[in-house]
């Protein structure tokens, strides 16, 4: 681990030229009200009379909405003296198999810290390799055999163990309990949407995982306009949509505040995949499965109530999910050398 100040990429290395999109450091690309991720209006798949915009979180420097929480959690640890000069040689450990790990690994590395990701063995090798590619050390834990309902899995236990037993080397941001996760969205995602829609936003559609996104942006937007509807979309139970949780699984998150959510829609999880494919083919939006699910939720509300100006948080793109997409849409994976 290498947290000397001269090794650290700063986030204010120079004033970015946002018009010309010139940045002195990749950290300057991190989103803010002044530098929001794009909103793109859907042209073909929207029920008549409604307006839906997708917020393209895959345009973040490390490819997903999780850059926001990861950055806020790292900065928070630095500000509280838990990382950085006050704790030389200390890095982060997090149980994560997905986007948070990737964002944390890349951002920690920019700031000169090590990162250890603890990943359950069922996670595809591609993702483990991606984490290593981004500079993380990866520990793979055995998946629980007939686990106890509600019990912590091996990955959470192992990550906690590192933080407890080797506190000189590791601190655990813990995205499921860390208020900085929600604060990231209160500070950036909420204000961005408000500015980008000139305050005309009526609905925001988002998924529930750590619940940081929903809680944070709702806190900000509700203050601007208490009538903004925050609609959470979740997959049906028994789903395999990466990164999302069904409400029955939400007890792991300490960031869930039901009073901020107007409605929770449950969508058959298979639609995550079919809608993602449609978004790519019909709208040119290379949306991942969780975005497919969110779109289906927004589409249903548009059909039912009409949506004045809806914003859908599209968490990440489909490139990391080719094997999941092939599993659910078998036609993607059939190739015949001799031609069909």
């Amino acid at each position: 681990m290498h947290s000397s100040p001269e090794n650290r990429v700063r986030s204010d290395a120079g004033r970015p030229d946002l018009d010309a999109r010139v940045f002195e450091s990749v950290l300057d690309m991190l989103p803010s009200e002044a530098n929001p991720t794009p909103l793109v209006r859907l042209q073909r798949l929207v029920p008549p009379g409604s307006t839906l915009y997708a917020k393209l979180e895959w345009m973040n420097p490390f490819g997903s909405v999780k850059d926001r929480a990861a950055w806020e959690m790292l900065r928070d640890l630095e500000e509280r003296g838990q990382l950085g000069e006050a704790k030389p040689g200390r890095g982060v450990v997090e149980p994560t198999s997905g986007n948070t790990g990737l964002s944390l690994a890349a951002l920690a590395s920019m700031r000169g810290y090590g990162m250890r990701a603890v990943v359950p063995s069922k996670v595809p090798d591609e993702k483990k390799a991606l984490l290593r590619l981004a500079g993380a050390e990866v520990d793979v834990t055995t998946d629980a055999l007939c686990p106890l309902p509600g019990s912590e899995d091996g990955a959470i236990g192992l990550a906690r163990t590192y933080a407890r037993a080797q506190g000189d080397k590791y601190v655990m941001p813990n995205q499921y309990e860390n208020q900085a996760n929600a604060r990231a969205h209160e500070r950036t995602t909420g204000p961005e949407i408000w500015r980008q829609t000139a305050g005309r936003v009526t609905h925001v559609f988002t998924a529930l995982g750590t619940v940081g996104t929903a809680t944070g942006l709702a806190r900000y937007l509700r203050k601007q306009n208490p009538d903004v509807k925050i609609i959470a979309v979740q997959p049906s139970p028994g789903h395999d949509v990466p990164g999302l949780r069904n409400v029955s699984e939400l007890s792991v998150s300490k960031l869930f505040d039901p009073s901020l959510i107007s409605e929770i829609l449950e969508i058959p999880h298979e639609l995550a995949y079919t809608r993602a494919a449609e978004l790519f083919r019909r709208e040119g939006l290379r949306a991942g499965p969780s975005s497919g699910l969110i779109f289906e939720g927004a589409r249903r509300v548009a059909e039912r109530d009409g949506v004045g100006l809806g914003v859908m948080i599209f968490c990440d793109d489909v490139f990391k999910y080719v094997s999941s997409m092939r599993k659910h849409l078998p036609e993607l994976g059939k190739f015949n050398v001799e031609g069909e």
């Binding site: 998946d143 106890l148 091996g154």
Partner: protein, 286 residues
């Protein structure tokens, strides 16, 4: 109602008090040995079930000599009070307990709740320092098979179960019991056929524990195993699972917490039984 043998369970507070007690050795045995290396209770010795607690060549428990050399080299003597704990609510800790009892170790106990309970209490100390104790001479007793069932006894129990002369407890998940899966996904130890031993009662191991990994109260356990499943303390009982560790856990519950008179752990379990030619199998899923 209290546990039949309350002394075999210790709390985290007890362990904290005895961290430096020279008469006590704390031993961690995990499903995933990485857990110990990342951090453990200060002074705890780590044993790896894949290497330390089975015979390195044939499929069997370790020999007396193997166990004596292992424990002696780690500074454990037969006079020590051994406290075992581990991940997954003490699965392999319970297996270690069973193994030590086969070799006659007098005072073995389990830390109630295992490693997750310790981990959940922020104020309890943890370290990744591996302790080193002066070597001892560990003298194991001759192998006592009172608590171990071999396949012949499993077959016998299956026969006798028809007339309620024995009871078989299958502690695997419902999908393994019904024959929907041979083993949980991703497991390397598996069998040729799916299903269960005829006459077995399905009581998944997790029925015995609370969400924090501690054992349920004696009354709750009695409710589940005796009243709920109709198991009788006087009837000879064989517990089995897939490779013998989850059934060690249930063996411990039935014998020490509920006071069943005659309980054996069938460590060959489904990976042995489900691979044998010509033995009867019941399967609910076709």
């Amino acid at each position: 109602m209290a546990y039949a043998n309350p002394d075999v369970l210790v709390s985290a507070a007890w362990v904290l008090e005895h961290l430096k007690d020279p008469k006590v050795r704390i031993i961690e045995v995990d499903v995933d040995p990485k857990q110990y290396h990342a951090g453990h209770i200060p002074g705890a010795i780590g044993l790896d079930w894949t290497k330390d607690l089975q015979d390195p060549v044939q499929r069997d428990i370790p020999t007396k000599e193997h166990l004596e050399t292992l424990l002696g080299s780690r500074g454990v003597s037969h006079e020590h009070t051994i406290v075992l704990y581990g991940d997954a609510s003490n699965w392999f800790a319970a297996y270690g307990f069973w193994l030590l009892k086969l070799y006659g170790h007098k005072d073995v106990r389990l830390l109630d709740g295992g490693r997750s309970k310790w981990l959940a209490t922020e104020s309890l100390p943890m370290t990744n320092e591996v302790p080193s104790y002066p070597p001892t001479t560990y003298k194991a007793q001759a192998l006592d098979l009172t608590y171990r069932a071999r396949v012949v006894e499993a077959l016998e129990a299956s026969q006798k179960a028809k007339a309620a002369g024995a009871q078989l407890v299958d502690v695997r998940s419902p999908d393994e019991f019904s024959g929907k899966v041979i083993a949980p996904p991703g497991m390397t130890e598996t069998a040729q056929r799916a299903g269960h031993i005829p006459g077995a009662v399905s009581v998944p191991w997790g029925s015995a524990v609370n969400q924090d990994g501690t054992f349920k109260s004696a009354d709750e356990l009695r409710q589940i195993y005796v009243e709920g499943k109709g198991l009788k303390a006087e009837t000879p009982t064989v517990a089995y699972c897939r490779i013998g560790e989850r059934s060690s856990h249930t063996w411990f519950v039935l014998k020490y917490l509920l006071g069943f008179k005659n309980v054996k752990n069938y460590d060959g379990s489904w990976t042995e039984y489900g691979s044998m030619i010509g033995v009867p199998i019941e399967r609910d899923v076709r």
